[in-house]
Structure formats: structure tokens, C-alpha cells
């Protein structure tokens, strides 16, 4: 099933309306088969296979160090896989590197601009390197700079740009050669909410204008919601791949959070009277039920332990991740193992990590 989406913005929240689209006549723009990448003893990507349909927004969701960036680096020809194969736009990422590189645009997690040059010079360099004829390049540069609202600042050195402006410029640059696939590796990492929204506006606007495939990695849940399909990746493996709705249905209804006088007693009661296994986190107890509205009155009348507060919400992708892996996706919840994994991958992959600006 392939999903189309229309998006509008309201008070800074991303709202997504979905409608299904005929699923025939679609092609796989990215095809990954049994991909493995090892850094010494560490298995960063552990035998993953998936396909990305042309024109969809495909989300790669997982905690830091899960193997998202490594997978992107392989698809972008920046790294060679240990085993397995992948094609992009029909080209093999190992044997047909030049064609693959022409077919993709990239916005890296870490900045990749020449900050000593102006925005215009950065884009001219890109146009030249991608062999775009000079007259065409001139027009496209103006188009993309106007799209991201940087036309007036085009002659400024990039070192005078804010983080959000730099990221917008990188997106503009990634689109300059009209790629078939745009990779966005944590495109809004470290940006304030307003700038994040601004950048998402551009990305979704773009999606409407061109039939471009967007491959997105993020650990922000609300950003992942925008995707047509999401692959959840953890410790190098894809643990689930589906539409955001279908993933959330797996959680099994509504999520109820409970604060009580005595959590241990409440868990016992829930187990005996309602056959529910409640779990504990920093906010109190939580569990899923099929129909929250009907369950809450039963709970309030039935529970002997004193209840301080009850809240109910629709499941989020956070809940999905929790359900699938037993952990929270947030960075700080990663723990020492994840940190060490990330560190080892950085050492092996040589990703610049010092100068974030």
C-alpha cells in the first residue's frame, strides 16, 4: 500500500491528512538486500532489507547509534557495505557510483558547507561539480535560494549564517541538480522548533512540486509522522516497517497514564481485575486498552488504590518504539551501551563530530 499525503500547518504543529493512492504503477527507487556493515567487532547494520517506492517519504526512525547514518552512507556511496547489495534509481551503489551520485541529493547530519565562501559560491561549486550547464545553473540557483528564503543573503559568507539558515542552504544545494532521491539525515537536529517547522515547510512544499523521493532519518517523533512509511531501526536491525498509522495500531488502542498513591498495589489490582500488565516509567504507570473512553469509568470505580491523576492519549511512535524494543527512543534513555556503540561507530566511520556550529 502506498500513501499520498497533503499537509498543512496550524500553530506550529505538523498535521498530516492522508489518503490512499493507487498502488500499481509504482517503482522501487531504492532496493536494499541483506545489507551488512561491520566496524571491527561492531555490527552497525545487521542484515537489513527494504524497498523505497518512488515519490514516497520514507522515514528511518531509531535512537542515535542505531545504524541510520551508516545505512545512508552506504546508499550514498560514501561507505562500502561488508556484504549485501543495494540499488538506487536502478544503479548499483558499489559498481555504478557516479550514476548513483548523480541521482541523489544529500543533507548531512553534520554541516557540509564551505563556511568561508558565500551562499552563491557554495551553490556555484555544486552546480559546476554536478555538470549543470551554466545558464541552467544560474536560474536554478535563484529558484532554490528564493525557495528557502536566502536570495537576499546570497552574497554573505556562510560563517555569518545561523544554524537554521545553513541547513536551509544545504537543502537548497541538495536539490540543485534535481536528484531523484533526497536524503535528509536528521535535517533539523539541534534547531529550534520554529526553524524546524520552517524547514519542514520547504521539504513538503518541494514534495508537492516535484515527484521526488525523500529518505529521512530522525529521532524526532513528530517529524517521523510526516513519512508515508517508517522503518524502525534498533541495534542495526529493522524491527518494524509500516505506515505510521499501522505502526500505531500495533500498540493496541489508547494509552492510559495513571498516577496513584501506591503504584505497586495498583499494578497488582490491574492484573487481577482487568487482566492488564501496566508498566512503570518516569510519569507513573501506563498501559494500553482498546477503548480508553469506556475503560476510564470502570477504572475509577473499580480501583481500591487512590488515584491522583489519569490521562489518556492516542498512541505515538514513541509508544510504538517502546512496545517493540522495550526502551524509550530518546537519546538520554539510550544508556551506556548505546553511547559506546555510537562512539565506536564514529571512530570507525570517521565522522566529524567536534565542530558543531
Amino acid at each position: 500500500m502506498v500513501w499520498g499525503c497533503a499537509v498543512h500547518y496550524e500553530s506550529g504543529k505538523i498535521c498530516v491528512l492522508r489518503f490512499s493512492r493507487k498502488s500499481n504503477n509504482m517503482t522501487e527507487i531504492i532496493k536494499v538486500e541483506h545489507l551488512v556493515k561491520k566496524f571491527g567487532a561492531l555490527v552497525a547494520v545487521d542484515d537489513i532489507s527494504f524497498e523505497v517506492e518512488e515519490g514516497e517519504i520514507f522515514g528511518f526512525l531509531g535512537p542515535n547509534g542505531a545504524g541510520k547514518t551508516t545505512t545512508i552512507n552506504i546508499l550514498c556511496t560514501l561507505m562500502k557495505p561488508t556484504s549485501g547489495r543495494a540499488t538506487l534509481n536502478g544503479y548499483d551503489v558499489i559498481r555504478q557510483q557516479n550514476q548513483v551520485r548523480h541521482s541523489l541529493g544529500l543533507v548531512f547530519q553534520d554541516p557540509s558547507l564551505d563556511i568561508r565562501l558565500t551562499a552563491l559560491q557554495n551553490l556555484k561549486f555544486h552546480a559546476f561539480v554536478y555538470n549543470i550547464p551554466r545558464t541552467v545553473a544560474k536560474k536554478r540557483i535563484e529558484d532554490v535560494l528564493r525557495m528557502v528564503g536566502l536570495w537576499d543573503r546570497r552574497k554573505d559568507e556562510v560563517c555569518n549564517y545561523s544554524g537554521g539558515m545553513r541547513r536551509r542552504l544545504e537543502i537548497a544545494r541538495g536539490l540543485l541538480h534535481h536528484p531523484r532521491v533526497l536524503f535528509l539525515d536528521e535535517p533539523t537536529l539541534g534547531l529550534d522548533p520554529q526553524t524546524r517547522n520552517h524547514i519542514w515547510n520547504h521539504i513538503l512544499e518541494l514534495r508537492k512540486r516535484q515527484n521526488i523521493t525523500i529518505f529521512l532519518t530522525t529521532h524526532y517523533m513528530d517529524e517521523a509522522e510526516v513519512a508515508d512509511r517508517i522503518a524502525i531501526i534498533d541495534y542495526g536491525k529493522i524491527v518494524a516497517l509500516d505506515t505510521p498509522e499501522a505502526l500505531k495500531r500495533r500498540v493496541g488502542g489508547d494509552v492510559i497514564t495513571l498516577k496513584t498513591e501506591n503504584d505497586g498495589k495498583a499494578i497488582e489490582e490491574l492484573r487481577h481485575h482487568h487482566k492488564i500488565e501496566a508498566r512503570r516509567d518516569s510519569d507513573g504507570l501506563f498501559f494500553e486498552v482498546a477503548n480508553g473512553e469506556e475503560f476510564i469509568p470502570l477504572l475509577v470505580s473499580g480501583l481500591a488504590t487512590e488515584i491522583h491523576s489519569i490521562s489518556m492519549r492516542r498512541p505515538t511512535l514513541d509508544d510504538v518504539f517502546m512496545k517493540l524494543t522495550g526502551r524509550e527512543i530518546r537519546e538520554e534513555a539510550g544508556g551506556e551501551g548505546v553511547m559506546r556503540r555510537q562512539w565506536a561507530m564514529r571512530q570507525a566511520g570517521g565522522r566529524g563530530t567536534r565542530f558543531h556550529h
Binding site: 504503477n25 509504482m26 517503482t27 527507487i29 518512488e54 515519490g55 550514498c76 556511496t77 560514501l78 561507505m79 562500502k80 534509481n89 536502478g90 544503479y91 557510483q97 557516479n98 550514476q99 551520485r101 548523480h102 541521482s103 541523489l104 544529500l106 548531512f108 553534520d110 554541516p111 557540509s112 558547507l113 564551505d114 563556511i115 568561508r116 565562501l117 559560491q121 561549486f125 555544486h126 559546476f128 561539480v129 554536478y130 555538470n131 559568507e157 544545494r173 541538480h177 534535481h178 531523484r180 515527484n211 566511520g349 570517521g350 566529524g352 567536534r354 565542530f355
Partner: protein, 280 residues
């Protein structure tokens, strides 16, 4: 592949020709150099200190070659200082790659549909051009040093400095393609740059050195670069000692110096290209 939505293999853009890749990489380096004119000014400081302080200081305490020379010590040292500037600036080409890696720009280059060999060559030529320009700037010290150089000598210096610089920038790129962080690059440079400089005839003539020092100096490719510059700048009159490097009684000519440098340059450039292609 191939359907109504235009999927698959649509963009058959020919890759950029290698010459144009070399050009754009070279051009970017020059553009950055030009925008960073402060570097040009500060690059005077070190050679100035060497010439004025060390040169004057040593001249006041010793009589150069026992007085058996047309040239005094500052004049002798001057081509060595030009060589030092070329050497130090050339290694900066390697620094610029490490810098590009730290600031991320290298990824933009590595993911582009262009030949990495051409990128490495463009980088080496860019660095060599800048180093040659910096070396030429050192000619402003001529009046202070008191040597006379004709226009013909200057025109000879340019290709010599360029070949010298090209071999050194290639070496810098070779190192930089294997080194991921600025800190480790600085360590390598410290371990390499000063021996290369001090184990050369930049500050003293080679001829009278004891063999424990004379042999490493003769094995150092930088020696031949500095020797060729000195042979152009200083032309001792008949009967006065020449400063050329002697190997088994034979004094190296400029052509022989250049041949050694060119060989070193070709080896370094080949290794740099190979290493740059195979990095992740």
C-alpha cells in the same frame, strides 16, 4: 523501470571531465586563499623572524665560512627561508583537507559524481599554486638581504618553487587522506615538518657536515628543493665555494635537483591519489 511518473535512470548526465574537476578544486582553494588575505600578511612573520633575528644574531657571532665567500650568512640563509615558506605553506594543503573534513565540506566533495583522483590532483595543484605565490612574496626581502636578482632568475624560481611545492602538497594530501582529526594531523606534522626543515641545507651548508648529519640531509628530498632555489638566487664567483649538495664528490646541478624533486613528486602524487580514492 520507466513508467508514467518518469521513474528510473532518467538523468544520464555525463560526469564532469577530470580537467574541469581539477580546475574547480584548484579554483576553490585559490578563492579561499584570496578571501583570507590576513593569512598573506601573517605569513610574513615567521620568515621575518628567521631572517632578521636568527640571521642577524648568528652573523654577529660568527664569520660565515671563515670569510671565504662572496655572501654573508643572511644572504646564504635567504633562499633557505624561501624554501621554508614553500615547505610550510605546502603542508597547509594537507591541513586544508583535514579542515574540510572537520567542517564537513569534504563530504560534499566525496559524494559528488566526480573522480576522486582528479580531486586529489586539483588539491595538490591548488596547494602548490598558493605555496609558490607565498614563496614569491618573500622576494620583498631582497633589499633587506642585499642580493641582486634579475627578472630571468625570478622566472626560473617560479617553476622550481612549483615543482618543489607540488611534491610537498602531495605528501600533505597523502597524510591528510588517512588522518581524521586536526589534532592527530598536527602531531604528524610536528614529527615531520621540523626534521624536514632542519635536516636540509636551509640554515647551513651541507659540504662540511659530519656524516651522521650529512647522510640524512642528503636523503631528505626537501634538501634538493632548497638547493635548487639557492643555486638560482646565489651565484658565487669563480674560486669561491659553491653551496651545492655534493654526492660522492659530484656537485648537484639545478637540473639534477629538479629531477630528484620531480621523481619524489610523482611518487607522492601517485600515493596521494591512491590513498584519497580509497578513503571512506
Amino acid at each position: 523501470m520507466g513508467n508514467a511518473s518518469g521513474g528510473g535512470q532518467r538523468d544520464k548526465v555525463p560526469p564532469l571531465s577530470n580537467l574541469r574537476v581539477i580546475y574547480i578544486i584548484w579554483y576553490r582553494d585559490l578563492l579561499r586563499f584570496w578571501r583570507d588575505r590576513a593569512r598573506l600578511i601573517t605569513s610574513f612573520a615567521q620568515p621575518f623572524l628567521f631572517l632578521v633575528i636568527i640571521g642577524t644574531g648568528l652573523s654577529s657571532g660568527i664569520v660565515f665560512l671563515g670569510g671565504a665567500s662572496d655572501y654573508d650568512y643572511i644572504q646564504f640563509m635567504y633562499p633557505g627561508i624561501i624554501g621554508m615558506v614553500v615547505l610550510f605553506t605546502s603542508i597547509m594543503a594537507g591541513v586544508s583537507i583535514v579542515w574540510d573534513r572537520e567542517f564537513g565540506f569534504l563530504k560534499e566533495v566525496l559524494v559528488a559524481p566526480i573522480s576522486r583522483s582528479a580531486v586529489a590532483i586539483g588539491k595538490a595543484l591548488g596547494g602548490a599554486t598558493i605555496a609558490t605565490a607565498q614563496g614569491l612574496v618573500m622576494l620583498v626581502f631582497i633589499p633587506f638581504v642585499g642580493v641582486s636578482i634579475s627578472a630571468a632568475q625570478v622566472f626560473l624560481l617560479i617553476p622550481l618553487m612549483f615543482i618543489f611545492a607540488f611534491s610537498l602538497t602531495s605528501m600533505g594530501i597523502l597524510i591528510a587522506s588517512r588522518i581524521k582529526t586536526m589534532e592527530s594531523f598536527q602531531v604528524v606534522i610536528q614529527l615531520l615538518l621540523f626534521p624536514l626543515f632542519f635536516l636540509s641545507p636551509a640554515l647551513f651548508p651541507v659540504e662540511r657536515l659530519p656524516s651522521w648529519l650529512g647522510i640524512p640531509v642528503r636523503l631528505n628530498p626537501v634538501s634538493y628543493g632548497i638547493d635548487s632555489l639557492r643555486q638560482v638566487v646565489l651565484t658565487p664567483s669563480q674560486g669561491m665555494p659553491s653551496f651545492g649538495i655534493t654526492i660522492a664528490g659530484h656537485t648537484m646541478s639545478i637540473v639534477e635537483d629538479v629531477a630528484i624533486l620531480a621523481l619524489f613528486g610523482v611518487i607522492m602524487a601517485s600515493l596521494a591519489v591512491w590513498s584519497f580514492r580509497n578513503q571512506e
